[in-house]
């Protein structure tokens, strides 16, 4: 293990967040077992009071998760210097491949926490707390996810050995390598460009349509498209967007974007992509819940708001990502 300040802080926060979510899940179990809104017993009153604690715990846990995700990315960048052959976060992750899982679970946990909190907000706006059971059931899924993340983080950081020779991003994200990263990097840029820009066009169209008409299917479709577009966008970052930013047709690393040489452009890019995906996903998730009468109105006011935010963040992401495609002299034309 490397005793790096960033690693210490990440492990500390992982433990704190796990503790908070576990405590929350404990409350959730009790609520699931005993919740009875029609009762006016003292126990029910105590349970209702506990829901305040739970929302506070979860919103703080989410805030810490977001901050720790940023610190995690930066720490990966920062410690790559202690690994032989590592040139960016890719090398740091390869030094102990558990890191890839930690990263993936972290992204999943981030989305899950954000969705949970939004559902909670909707629920609290209704008189009869209609989502209580759904919410607390979800919490029992979320808690293991956070625990898994903590466990993976510990396994990753404790298993890091500065003497291991790792491969740099040049070999993982190069067109001729093996593995998922290399296969995406090796994807022909043109079809993926079509998928990326086509996907964005479809998404924008769905968004505008969803704003105009109060129909269920474009909104459901929007949620599904948001997730698909997230995956396509990440693949596009690896396959061609990064190459444009580096102005190097052979450099496909999604992490070097986070370095100072590229003005830390990766941070706003990934954050806006995350926000756009989240709001889009929320539109889809909330749609089936409109059948519950008491939260129909809050969702109906929120959905257009989410759609607008999603479209806005997506546009910012697209501008950030494609800026060098439009304004730099570099072109991938010969590499289609």
């Amino acid at each position: 293990m490397i005793l790096h300040p960033g690693i210490l802080s990440l492990l500390l926060v992982a433990v704190l967040v796990s503790g908070m979510v576990l405590y929350g899940a404990g409350i959730g179990t009790v609520v699931l077992a005993r919740w009875d809104l029609s009762s006016s017993s003292e126990r029910q009153l105590a349970l209702e009071r506990r829901t305040y604690l739970l929302s506070t715990l979860m919103s703080h846990a989410l805030a810490l998760e977001i901050l720790s995700a940023l610190v995690f990315l930066y720490t990966l960048e920062d410690i790559h210097t202690v690994f032989v052959g590592a040139m960016c976060a890719t090398g740091t992750l390869n030094a102990n491949p558990v890191g890839w899982w930690a990263l993936a679970v972290k992204i999943a946990a981030l989305f899950a926490c954000a969705v949970w909190i939004t559902l909670n907000r909707i629920d609290q706006r209704a008189e009869d707390y209609p989502l209580t059971r759904l919410k607390y059931g979800l919490l029992l899924v979320l808690a293991p996810l956070i625990l898994l993340e903590t466990w993976l983080l510990f396994r990753y950081f404790l298993g890091l050995d500065p003497n291991v020779i790792t491969s740099c991003c040049g070999s993982l994200f190069s067109g001729t390598g093996v593995g998922v990263g290399a296969e995406i990097a090796g994807l022909p840029a043109l079809p993926l460009m079509i998928a990326f820009f086509g996907g964005i066009a479809v998404y924008l169209a769905l968004g505008v349509f969803g704003l105009r008409r109060e129909q269920a299917w474009p909104r459901l479709l929007l949620g599904a498209t948001a997730v698909a577009l997230f995956v396509v966008s990440l693949a596009s970052v690896i396959a061609f967007i990064s190459a444009y930013h580096y102005e190097l047709p052979t450099h496909h690393c999604p992490f070097c974007l986070l370095q100072a040489e590229y003005h830390y452009i990766g941070y706003p890019m990934y954050l806006t992509l995350f926000a756009a995906t989240f709001y889009g996903l929320m539109v889809g998730i909330a749609e089936p819940l409109r059948r519950v009468p008491s939260i129909e109105a809050p969702i109906a006011t929120d959905q257009p708001r989410w759609i607008r935010r999603s479209l806005l963040w997506l546009l910012v992401f697209v501008v950030l990502a494609t800026w060098p495609m439009v304004f730099s002299d570099f072109t991938l034309e010969g590499y289609y």
């Binding site: 490397i2 005793l3 790096h4 300040p5 960033g6 690693i7 210490l8 802080s9 990440l10 500390l12 926060v13 704190l16 503790g19 908070m20 009071r49 305040y52 604690l53 506070t56 715990l57 703080h60 810490l64 901050l67 720790s68 940023l70 610190v71 930066y74 920062d78 410690i79 210097t81 202690v82 690994f83 032989v84 500065p162």
Partner: protein
């Protein structure tokens, strides 16, 4: 969020600040302790990264490969003819012997680093990023002259034209005229440095004619350093090749480790602080309890009280965090980290004071935030909620 909702949050914040001011003493205690914890941790983080940056600046001009010789596992003088064997390897540029050593000076009770300047000129004097503050470099052919670092100049009260006398290997005093005073990109590097003409240095330290301290090897392609090291070891089994990357990595690991160890130990203080924060937040005075009761009775909701308590915590945490960070910054970059330097710097007893280049990265602030504010938040959520669910009826009846 509508404007009305936003206004409500602002009003609650205003109320929170006012109520904290009313209970100045209780909150001041927490702020002082919290600031002290942040001060300690931020001093460690700032100092570690400043020292690391300093070390990296020192290493910038270092050659790709340094070859030493080890005998019985210890560093030994290297035969100069190794240079021919190494220079014959493909991919190797020039190979230069380097002469240097340490000198303990009883007058100033300090260790100096002596480096020989070859006749070809000072450009290859260990390839250090040096530049003169005043005077001249040692010109080829001159003897019994020296160029000294600012720290040595201070310790010996020497100026251009003064004489610095050093005891040679036979015990006789040898005199050198100061012709220049040095400064470097990193003062860590030049403070204790004395440059002597190579021949003078060999006589002073009593080095045999055919031996050097180590060899500097120029490698054309940095990616080939590992290969060249391997070939070199096959031909010269006693050699110990040290690559530039290895040195950098070692320093990185070393500083991370030192800083991390100190931080890990200080986490005890964070834990103690968490308990204090928990305790303070739990122990509501009768007056506070009554206040909450009245607020609820006049229509505040549980969520409003909870928000009030969280605003109080946030205001307190931000005040303490900023105070602690500022104090830590001043401690490290203005007073030279007087409290921590001996622990973290760790390689010399005398170095005259040097100033670290002030630098703070947003990343460091994020790390410090996670290390200090996150535990505080975790410790105060439950007490804040407990305060918020206070039953107005029960409080008022009790009073």
């Amino acid at each position: 969020m509508t404007r009305a909702q936003f206004g409500k949050h602002l009003k609650i914040l205003e109320f929170a600040l006012a109520s904290m001011l009313r209970r100045r003493m209780k909150n001041a205690g927490i702020v002082v302790v919290f600031s002290a914890v942040v001060f300690l941790l931020s001093s460690i983080v700032f100092l570690t990264s400043a020292l690391r940056a300093e070390a990296m600046a020192t290493l910038e001009g270092a050659p790709e490969l340094i070859v030493q010789r080890t005998v019985a596992g210890r560093h030994a003088l290297i035969p100069v003819d190794y240079a021919e064997v190494i220079a014959a390897l493909p991919g190797v540029g020039s190979v230069q012997p380097r002469y240097w050593g340490y000198y303990y000076d009883i007058y100033s009770d300090a260790n100096y680093t002596l480096i020989g300047v070859p006749d070809e000129g000072p450009g290859s004097a260990g390839q250090l990023p040096l530049h003169l503050v005043e005077g001249d470099m040692i010109t080829p052919g001159r003897t019994e002259v020296c160029v000294i670092g600012a720290g040595v100049a201070r310790a010996r009260s020497a100026r251009i034209g003064s004489i610095v006398s050093l005891r040679n290997s036979r015990g006789w005093m040898q005199e050198y005229e100061v012709v220049g005073i040095l400064a470097g990109a990193s003062r860590l590097l030049t403070n204790d440095l004395i440059l002597l003409p190579e021949r003078d240095l060999k006589t002073l330290l009593g080095l045999p004619d055919d031996r050097a301290t180590d060899l500097l090897v120029e490698v054309y392609n940095p990616n080939e350093v590992a290969n060249i090291s391997r070939k070199l070891l096959e031909r010269l089994p006693q050699a110990r090749p040290i690559s530039h990357a290895e040195i950098t990595r070692t320093y990185d690991t070393l500083f991370d480790w030192r800083g991390g160890l100190l931080l890990a130990m200080s986490l005890g203080a964070v834990a103690a602080f968490m308990i204090l924060a928990w305790d303070k937040a739990t122990g509501l005075s009768a007056e506070e309890r009554r206040e909450i009761g009245i607020l609820k009775a006049i229509g505040w909701e549980t969520s409003d009280i909870l928000e009030l308590k969280l605003w109080e915590g946030a205001a307190l945490a931000i005040t303490a965090f900023l105070t602690g960070i500022t104090a830590g910054y001043a401690h490290v970059f203005h007073s030279g980290a007087a409290l921590l330097r001996p622990v973290l710097q760790g390689w010399s007893t005398l170095f005259p004071s040097f100033d670290l280049a002030p630098r703070v990265e947003p990343y460091e602030l994020g790390v410090l935030f996670l290390l200090t504010v996150a535990p505080y938040i975790a410790a105060t959520i439950v007490p804040a909620w407990k305060a918020a669910i206070t039953d107005p009826d029960r409080v008022m009846r009790a009073s």
